[in-house]
Symmetry: C2
Subunit: 339 residues, 2 copies
DNA sequence: ATGAAAGCGCTAACAT
DNA sequence: ATGTTAGCGCTTTCAT
């Protein structure tokens, strides 16, 4: 931090006014004459004055900084959300501090600690996959730092949340496949430590039953969805006597991998195998056939989340309700037979 | 920022020691006895003390925060770079403040201003496409804020830079296509206000000449590479008598769009048309055929950039040299005929 | 090894 | 409308 930079005291001295007057002028206070305000603003310009936000933050007990905590930055959905947050934050005069948990609970805890120390005005977070406890979140509340969760949320933690109806997303997917005549539907799900994936699982089971389709246990997988996980699952499934004729993946990367696997094995999508991704990314439309998916309003989720947070920052803690954002099942060519 | 939180003064009072002693204990100073240190650390724990970094920053004239300025967050390469920065920063006890220029010079200027105000310890930036002047960068230097540039850099600005050899990337691409028998090579380039794209352009022209291939003016395009730009170029090119038989795109999204266009027009890649992308993203391997591309070490670039910056933060301004990172031309199935 | 005191640059209550 | 003063919470000389 530049040591020898110009301060309001320098300006005050040069103009023979009080530092507080300079502060007022620079903050556009109404308790100051236009004449001196102009004089001060000009002098500030002339000297190349640049506000020291650190000092202002300490004095005001407010940093105008929002902490954003996500599993990975390098992920289409999260980067969309951050994009929405950043855009709105920039317009509202807030800065954003970003940290990745890399799906580690330990890291998440540490991040919350340092963000508390940094005195961010509030935190927006999508919990890591292996977050089991909410102690670190309660500490935020104790430190008076508002928190809004999105996507992967913890329902037993009292704060505002923004999610989508994951149950419904899976339900619509299964129903669509069933109506299209697919019979052995498989699911490559995420880790069940996450609300999202348990909702998917529940919906998967219940909707299959409702559609009078069999729930074949080994077709209902839960994993971290790494490339190895997917590849292993494919190897096993397609060496069985009864192979799946449709797959629903929790991540778009998984869907793309399945699509690649199918091509390599000369399995025709959608004739031999239907494919639906419960998350979306542009690449789904670049492959052939294009992959049916659930489209989530990432940017919109980011904006809403920040709006809620700013509201809490300004007006104190609000009711801990959950906002459900709409999604769309976009049917592309991977999930219905042309015949 | 939590008003009523525990301060070192509270701890000092409870333990009847001086605040400075508490500070020493908590900062692991060696000028303190182990006995009192333990006592203080325990009490701090007990009271739930959480350091106020804002106060510490003001006092130390150092924020332990790095500003990261990129065109877009939602881009594979940049998010890889940020990923590298974030990882190393986290380990070194630094936080990162991220802002997107959205390729607007005005925004970039504004961002540099607010980051100066925030007193970040240093800035890592990839300049926006329409950055013409470097006045805003000189202001950083004047404010004693070290700057390291990567990818899109400004060669007439004196600071450390980390890039790749864009000329060579294009050269290798053209040569590869020429050796594979392609004759009418086209280039979908980026805006020539950027060093990267002017280097591509130069190499494109010169390598074609070296390979004794024609440089057809309308096959050498420079644009913002939006979906419309690409689509328009395709429409025009493929309605000509002499169509291109190979396309080199500056962005991976452009390559994916070309690949999609080819499929829709029943142009076979690589038989009718070869395709090379000068940037990479995973999706290039999910489409059929997989697309040949230049692979950039994003995470590595991020790490190196931060290393340079931290070095300047600790040891003052260094020589303004440019570090060239290696890239790889990964030849996939889109760029050579099987016959 | 510990304490006292000054100061980082700004804001805000109070006074005039 | 402007000045005076007292912090914000911490670090860091300088004493002891």
């Amino acid at each position: 931090m530049a040591k020898s930079s110009i301060t309001i005291n320098d300006i005050a001295r040069e103009l023979k006014v009080a530092p507080s007057t300079v502060s007022r002028a620079l903050n556009n206070s109404n308790k100051i004459s236009n004449a001196t305000k102009r004089k001060i603003v000009e002098k500030a310009e002339e000297l190349g004055y640049n506000l020291n936000m650190v000092a202002a933050s300490l004095s005001r007990s407010q940093t105008n900084t929002i902490g954003v905590v996500i599993p990975y930055l390098n992920n289409y959905f999260y980067s969309q959300v951050v994009n929405g947050i950043e855009e709105l934050a920039f317009n509202k005069g807030y800065r954003i501090l970003i940290a990745q948990t890399r799906d580690s609970f330990a890291r998440e805890t540490e991040i919350m600690r340092t963000m508390s120390a940094t005195r961010v005005d509030g935190i927006i977070a999508c919990l890591s996959a292996d977050t089991q406890s909410t102690e670190h979140l309660f500490k935020l509340i104790k430190n008076n730092i508002p928190l809004v969760l999105f996507d992967r949320v913890s329902f037993d933690f009292p704060c505002k949340k923004v999610t989508i109806d994951n149950y419904n997303a899976m339900q619509q997917s299964v129903t669509h496949l069933a109506r299209s005549g697919y019979k052995s539907i498989a699911h490559l799900g995420g880790p069940t430590t996450c609300n999202i994936y348990t909702e998917h699982s529940k919906a998967f089971r219940e909707t299959l039953k409702k559609e009078k389709l069999p729930l074949i246990p080994q077709f209902h997988l839960s994993s971290d969805l790494t490339e190895e996980d997917i590849s292993e699952a494919m190897q096993i499934w397609f060496s069985l006597k009864t192979k799946p004729d449709a797959i629903i993946t929790a991540s778009s990367t998984a869907a793309l991998l399945v699509s690649k696997f199918a091509r390599e094995q000369n399995l025709s999508i959608p004739d031999d195998l239907a494919l639906i991704s419960l998350t979306s990314e542009p690449a789904l439309c670049y492959v052939e056939p294009q992959i049916t998916s659930i489209e989530l309003p990432g940017t919109e989720i980011g904006k809403t989340t920040l709006e809620f947070l700013l509201n809490e920052i300004q007006n104190g803690a609000q009711n801990a309700n959950t906002t459900i954002k709409p999604f769309q099942l976009i049917i592309r060519n991977s999930s219905f037979r042309n015949s």
